[in-house]
């Protein structure tokens, strides 16, 4: 079944009088349990595409379908609900809530979802354990390293078992050891839980983990490689 489908997607930004085509008639289909890397140089459109798929940004034209539902015409509230229940985000710059501890950050999404407190705590502790942060649950982001913060962000993205995880340069601020650990975690989740991953990156090591590699340039898909077949 199709997890994500983009049809003729266009998005143009303006810098003064200059128009920049961030997405230029993009057509894309990603199957469930896919593990896809979007690769492009800076300004190539990968983050814009990721944001559009996640309902964080609206395309100028075209259609976006997530889990069989068209989302480009949804309201802000409907998009928020979609993100809350079906999509997990991992951002480049950790993006944790600084006043909350690691556990509270992980619980945050579940709390908005209305998950009872005891279940929330159990799930948060289990997932923090899974990402290797046992014993650091009560630390606040400021007291954690970059790698640890990114793991918290990953834990938060996957704790409620979303069908789709969108990760934007998840290893950009990590050392190679932490980056490998994170990617192995993604692979494990993909294989054991069937979570679909779409990862925007220009890190060759990350691309090596992907089943499918999509290269973009100037807002267009220029290459789509099935790495498993290769």
């Amino acid at each position: 079944m199709t997890a994500v489908r983009c049809i003729d997607l266009c998005r143009t930004y303006y810098q003064g009088d200059q128009a920049i085509k961030a997405l230029d008639h993009v057509n894309l289909e990603i199957q469930e349990s896919g593990f896809v890397c979007l690769s492009a140089p800076s300004g190539g459109g990968k983050t814009t595409l990721l944001n559009a798929i996640g309902g964080l940004d609206r395309p100028d034209s075209g259609e976006i379908w997530v889990a069989g539902r068209r989302i480009d015409n949804l309201s802000k509230g409907q998009l928020a609900k979609l993100r809350l229940h079906q999509i997990g985000f991992v951002f480049q710059a950790y993006n944790l809530i600084p006043v909350l501890s690691a556990r509270e950050n992980v619980e945050f999404v579940m709390q908005i979802q209305g998950v009872p407190a005891d279940k929330r705590a159990d799930q948060a502790n289990a997932i923090l354990d899974e990402v290797g942060l046992k014993g650091l649950e009560d630390r606040r982001p400021a007291d954690m390293s970059g790698g640890q913060q990114q793991r918290v962000a990953v834990a938060r993205a996957i704790v409620s078992r979303p069908a789709l995880v969108l990760a934007d340069e998840p290893t950009a601020n990590l050392d190679s050891h932490s980056a490998d650990g994170l990617m192995e975690l993604f692979v494990e989740l993909n294989q054991h839980h069937g979570t679909t991953f779409v990862i925007a990156t220009h890190d060759q090591r990350v691309m090596a983990y992907a089943k499918r590699l999509i290269r973009m340039l100037d807002g267009r898909i220029v290459d789509d490689i099935d790495q498993q077949a290769a």
Binding site: L56, L84, I97, F108, Q111, I112
Partner: protein
């Protein structure tokens, strides 16, 4: 409920991210609330004193007069009917107190000076619950009964007339035939009053003695009634009107002393205006604090929106933050105001400006009076207006586009 919990946690922790700013804002709210409540308590106290003084010296709660008396308060405008007839009408009724008086303009003369005064011929037993002067005798005694041949004058009048306790003075007024009626009286008592102006205005003598002097047998110029609640005299007014000949004037205190009546009425409106004005000054600081707090957290707000927090929850978070700030300020401000009122319950001497106050009929000692309605009004105004003031930054925060907010540096 669960969402409210996370909003409360976020709001509370965000408040203490910038301790100094939060403490300054809490201090401002505390001082503002204290000022609202304490200044209102002072004003209430001042008006209460004015009421007490005004009502006890002059009108009671309701009075009956001859219809021409207020234009010409002379002995010619007596209330028709003898005192026995008045007793038969009002004596069997339930009033807190009532009394007939002879009240006329007169002149008091010592061997050295003369002064124009208001002469009150009273029955001290019937007047006891109504008039102020019984508790304020500083020398000598008050009148024993309506037939007492002595006179009670104010301390200032003693100075003006250059007389003293035990000396004789002459009271002079007009009788119903417009002839001079006068008589010598011994000063048997000297009273002190607050405000001082009463000491120069009123002279008290026995009612029967004055009736004899003026040749009006047992007739009076006014009948005064005291009810239970000065702010609610309508029932008393209706009752007295029902018992009184319709040709006579029956008037409540606020018509007899229109200044005092207007003052009390104005006070209720003034409290609200006062509270709102202080809050408006506060609201600039509050909105500024919230706007800054929101501005500093654009990325976080974008993140929360990106993670699926509904925009309405972002509004909720900013409002909860504002309400937490206000609630702490309110609690401290209320406590401080209560403490100030309790500490100063024996009165604040403002005699340095008492001359000005007396012109308004107020006392030179202010007794702050805490009305629960004023406290509730101040608290409600702060919470409601605080809520409204926080809507703008809250709405602004909820309108951020997640993708733009999250990339803000």
């Amino acid at each position: 409920m669960r969402q409210l919990q996370i909003l409360a946690i976020l709001a509370w922790r965000n408040l203490w991210r910038n301790h100094r700013r939060t403490l300054i804002m809490i201090s401002a709210v505390t001082i503002g609330v204290w000022a609202m409540i304490f200044m209102t308590a002072l004003m209430r106290g001042m008006v209460n004193e004015m009421l007490r003084d005004g009502i006890q010296v002059l009108p009671g709660h309701v009075q009956i007069h001859h219809p021409d008396y207020r234009d010409d308060p002379s002995i010619n405008n007596l209330i028709p009917g003898t005192e026995d007839e008045l007793e038969s009408i009002f004596g069997g009724q339930e009033f807190e107190a009532w009394a007939g008086r002879v009240r006329v303009p007169a002149v008091i003369t010592s061997e050295r000076e003369s002064r124009g005064i208001t002469l009150l011929g009273i029955d001290p037993i019937a007047e006891a619950p109504i008039s102020f002067v019984f508790d304020d005798i500083v020398e000598g005694r008050f009148l024993k009964d309506g037939a007492d041949s002595g006179v009670v004058i104010g301390r200032k009048m003693v100075d003006k007339l250059d007389t003293r306790l035990g000396k004789r003075v002459v009271l002079m007024s007009q009788d119903p035939e417009n002839e001079i009626a006068d008589r010598g009286f011994r000063v048997v008592g000297i009273f002190d009053s607050d405000p001082d102006s009463h000491e120069e205005t009123f002279v008290f003598a026995g009612k029967e003695t004055i009736q004899k002097m003026l040749g009006v047998e047992d007739r009076v110029t006014e009948v005064v009634f005291l009810g239970q609640d000065i702010r609610n005299v309508e029932a008393l007014l209706k009752k007295v009107s029902g018992l009184t000949d319709s040709s006579l004037d029956v008037e409540p205190w606020y018509e007899l002393d229109t200044y005092l009546g207007a003052m009390v009425k104005m006070m209720d409106g003034f409290v609200l205006v006062w509270v709102i004005v202080i809050f408006l000054a506060l609201s600039f600081g509050l909105v500024n604090t919230l706007v800054m707090a929101v501005f500093e957290r654009i990325r976080e707000i974008g993140l929360m929106l990106a993670l699926g927090m509904p925009p309405v929850n972002i509004v909720g978070q900013v409002i909860v933050e504002s309400l937490a700030l206000l609630t702490i300020g309110l609690a401290l401000g209320n406590a401080l105001a209560w403490l100030a009122v309790v500490t100063l319950e024996d009165g604040i001497d403002i005699s340095a400006v008492a001359q000005g106050m007396e012109m308004m009929g107020a006392s030179s000692v202010l007794y702050p009076v805490l009305h629960m309605t004023d406290v509730i009004t101040a608290n409600i105004v702060v919470l409601v207006l605080g809520f409204l003031a926080s809507l703008s930054p809250a709405w602004r925060a909820s309108r951020y586009q997640p993708v733009e907010a999250i990339t803000k540096v």
